[in-house]
Symmetry: none
Subunit: 203 residues, 4 copies
DNA sequence: TATGAATGAGACTTCATTCAT
DNA sequence: AATGAATGAAGTCTCATTCAT
């Protein structure tokens, strides 16, 4: 294709405009024309870079969340063990959202209003995160740090569910407190959960 | 006497029709006319019982989730201690969704697409559930079962986030496995988390 | 018909309710159900006394405007000559509207929003008034008081148009001044007009 | 450059289409889609040029009645005195309506069915006409042609009321006679009225 | 006579997408 | 590559009227 879309300057310009518009006006009021205006291009130009409106949103998610997850992935390599990896996931999850309030609103509140099939594509992006989490749990079990009874899938669901709920609550409370302060207690609860799987079955 | 709306037979009929239509066609394709047809009434009749379309959805949530939460509340009274209460919350949360697949789809996937102000009303309904969860955690700390370091709000966020994520995953996997089987391991993880708050701080 | 409609108590009750509702809420917000409520009857009862909504309005106009015109007609008999008749028409037109502010709003502003065919029926009622006015002009010409060149139809159009415009202006100014004060100057202008027809033709 | 709405060709096209449709089908049957079809544009295009349906009607009135009044205003400058000005107002009022039968129906019958707030905007447009009329009367008094007792506001109400009623009658009689023939007698009656104010007060 | 719950047709407006320039 | 005017499908809600009780 003549246009090297993904790397063009305008591609990013439009995605950033979408984040701004959605954060400011909400998902349903984020018309293509508003995004175009914010990006400083004509409505029609959008369609030179994106297939349709949904494609803007998927790309937004892929780009932003992708970077988000990559950063965590990279950090994983530097961690000596599963416990540290878990600590870093929690730490970075909160840190990164904390650093990008606009994006937090868009990801936690607004984009969840999207139609079912957009959500399926979002899940594709999240799959990487899911695998990453499950890998950590698996290695924790292998290391003997986490309970042998810990189910990897359920553990991951608890991990993701907990982080997600905490970020959502923080966004809904209009970010009135520091999300990063939740890092330590959240990690400790999760560690307790992952270590204890066996205890209860002993009973 | 004017229509005793909330208790009339048709009120429930319409809400149940809404659940069916939303589950079958998705939130955005759930036109009022479709709901009316499913309920076997005229379009205009809907507006004798509901202020507008949003009101159908709020009422749906209030009725169904309200019953859901009430059932859990009642059960709480029969539990001797916080640990048992926690077990019952997990158990009943999964059991009730498991028993109402249609409703699960509607609550976990479709209604989250609703506009922001509808979501605010939904949150009002959920507040009762939130308080119930926090009360259990508080009593667990008083009983000495849960860690003294456990933060009630964070504990509740983990509890709700975990259950919610598990139900959502189950729904997205098209309910191919038995949700009730997750009850025991989920409870054990949560119990481990709530007991351990202190452990980590010892370190 | 079993029901002696026009003379029944409820017939008038409903018409008066319509006047009140239209005056208070405006023509377009005057739903049948609102009129029924104001009259203290059920919606369906309206249809025992009136063919349809338009029939309420026509009847309203016929009853109220009919009484209005009858009063003027009766007064005519007591007038010695055309000039005095003209004076009385002006006087009573203003006096009667002045005495019924609610009705003035309904007749001058609200009912003019009615559909074309309702207006045709209204014109039927007004025909009596039109004839009365033309008769006065004719007799004025016969008496020699009014110009022989005065066209009866045009004279009547001026007479009605002038009175109507003055009442409408008064209603639109929210009746902040006394309509009856316009009686004398309006009469004098009209008399001048009717006497002068000849002057201009002399030229 | 953004659409130069008011001066674009389509703006006028749509307004003219509205006149045609309203004249043919009546105010209440004049749906936006019908107007769009008559104008040969898509429904949505209407909304590029007008805020909403009411805006079409207000613009219609402003444009057409505005041109109408401007033409009279210009003619005023060429008149040597108030009597001649009065003659020209009557003459042009009838002439212009006579020349635009469609528009006459719309203005005299159909647009009066409009809701109250549209009527308020219409009155704004008419204010110019009202002032013009009152200025003529004032100058007539200064010249000594009209009675010193003539009230400007009442005189204007008679003038407008008379012209308006005559045009309305003509339209309702389906324009079976030549409106312009009324010009001379109407002027003479009005002149007689305006000159005579004093006579009656002598009495 | 009276009720009032139920009916169902009908229209304005938005906004993602296209395509001639 | 870029523009932006034009398109047109689609859905919520109101309210006059009916009819079983």
């Amino acid at each position: 294709m003549a246009l090297d879309k993904k790397n063009s300057q305008k591609y990013q310009l439009i995605i950033d405009a979408a984040v701004t518009v959605i954060a400011d006006h909400g998902y349903h009021a984020a018309q293509v024309s508003k995004i175009a205006k914010e990006a400083g291009v004509a409505d029609g130009t959008i369609y030179l870079y994106f297939k349709n409106k949904e494609d803007i949103l998927v790309s937004l998610f892929r780009t932003k969340m992708g970077g988000f997850i990559s950063a965590i992935e990279e950090r994983m390599a530097t961690c000596p063990n599963a416990e540290e990896k878990l600590r870093q996931i929690v730490h970075m999850h909160f840190n990164q959202f904390s650093a990008q309030p606009h994006l937090s609103v868009v990801m936690q509140l607004e984009m969840r209003q999207s139609a079912r099939d957009l959500r399926l594509q979002i899940n594709e992006v999240l799959k990487v995160y899911v695998h990453l989490m499950e890998d950590v749990i698996k290695s924790g079990k292998e290391e003997g740090t986490f309970s042998q009874n810990l189910d990897e899938k359920l553990g991951r669901q608890m991990l993701f569910g907990t982080l997600d709920e905490m970020v959502t609550n923080w966004v809904m409370k209009e970010r009135k407190y520091d999300l990063r302060d939740l890092s330590k207690p959240a990690f400790e609860m999760l560690l307790g959960a992952f270590k204890s799987g066996s205890l209860s079955t002993d009973a």
